[in-house]
Amino acid sequence: MDETMNCQEAEQLILDALETPLSAAERKSVDEHCSHCSACAQFAAAQSELDQRLRRFITAPALNTEFRNHLMQRIRGRQRATIPAWSPDVAYSVGAFVGLIVSSIVLPFRPETVLTLGVVICAAAYLLQSLIFEFVNEPYD
C-alpha cells in the first residue's frame, strides 16, 4: 500500500476529484493507493457511478426563449404605470396655491383674511390626509 497516503486521505481526494481536477501528483498517489486497497478502489468506483447518475438525472429544462422579451415587456409596463411617490403632494400644493389666489380675488372679503384662512385650512387638510395614509392606508401603493 502507498505509504504516503492513508484511506481517509485517499477518500478525501476521491471526493475532491469530483468537484475540481486533481494535480498529476495527487492523481498518481490516489491511483497507487487504490491499486493496493480494494476498499478505496470500491469507494472510488461507487462515487464515480453515483456522479454519473447525478449528472444524468439532475438537469434543468431550458429557459423559454421568449423569457427575456416577456420580462422586458413586464418591466416597461411597470415603468409606464409608476409615478413618483411625491407627485400627489406636488399636485395638492399647486391646486391649493391656485385655489387660494383665485379665492382671494373672487371672494367678497379682504384678501389677507382669505389667504390666512385658506393656508390654515389647506395645512389642516394636508395633515389630516397624511394621518389617514399613515394609519389607515398605504399611500400611492
Binding site: 457511478e49 447518475r53 438525472f57 439532475i58
Partner: protein, 162 residues
Amino acid sequence: MLLDRRPAPAFELLVDRYQQKVFRLAYSIMRDSASAEDVTQDAFVKMWQVLPEYDGRASPSTWLYTIARNTALSALRAATRRRTAMLDCSYEVPAPSVDTVAQLETKQLVRRLPEAEREVVRLFYLQDRNVDEVAQMLDMPIGTVKSHLHRARRRLAEWMRR
C-alpha cells in the same frame, strides 16, 4: 455599472448574464419549469424595483440570488399550501417507463438527504458543477458547500449499495 444612474442598459446586461443561473436556482427549489420561470421573472422585476437603492456594497449577483431564493421559497410555501388544500382531488399518475426507473430511484435517494445537503447537491449539478457559484447562490463558504457535498455523496453511495 449599476451605480451609473442608467439602470436600463446595466439591468439588461444583468438579465443576459444571469437569467439561466437564476432560472436553475429557482428550478432547484421549485422543481417545476413553469413555476421556476415565474419565480425568475418575479426576481428580476423585484431587482428592477429596488435597483435605485443599490449601493454597490454587495455584488449584484449576490443580491439577485438572495432575491431569487427568497422569491422561490415564498412561492414554494404558497404552492404547498394550495396543494394541501387540493389533497382531496384525485389525479392520475402515469406509470413510469423502464427508462425512468433509475432516474426515479436516484431522485428518491436525493430527496431523502437532509435539506442542506439536498439543496447543495441539486444546485451543484444544475449549475454545471461549479462549487463557487453554488456557494455564492446559497451565501455559504466554499468549504461548507464542499463538506455538504461530500457528506451527501457518502450517504448516497451507501444507500445505493444497499
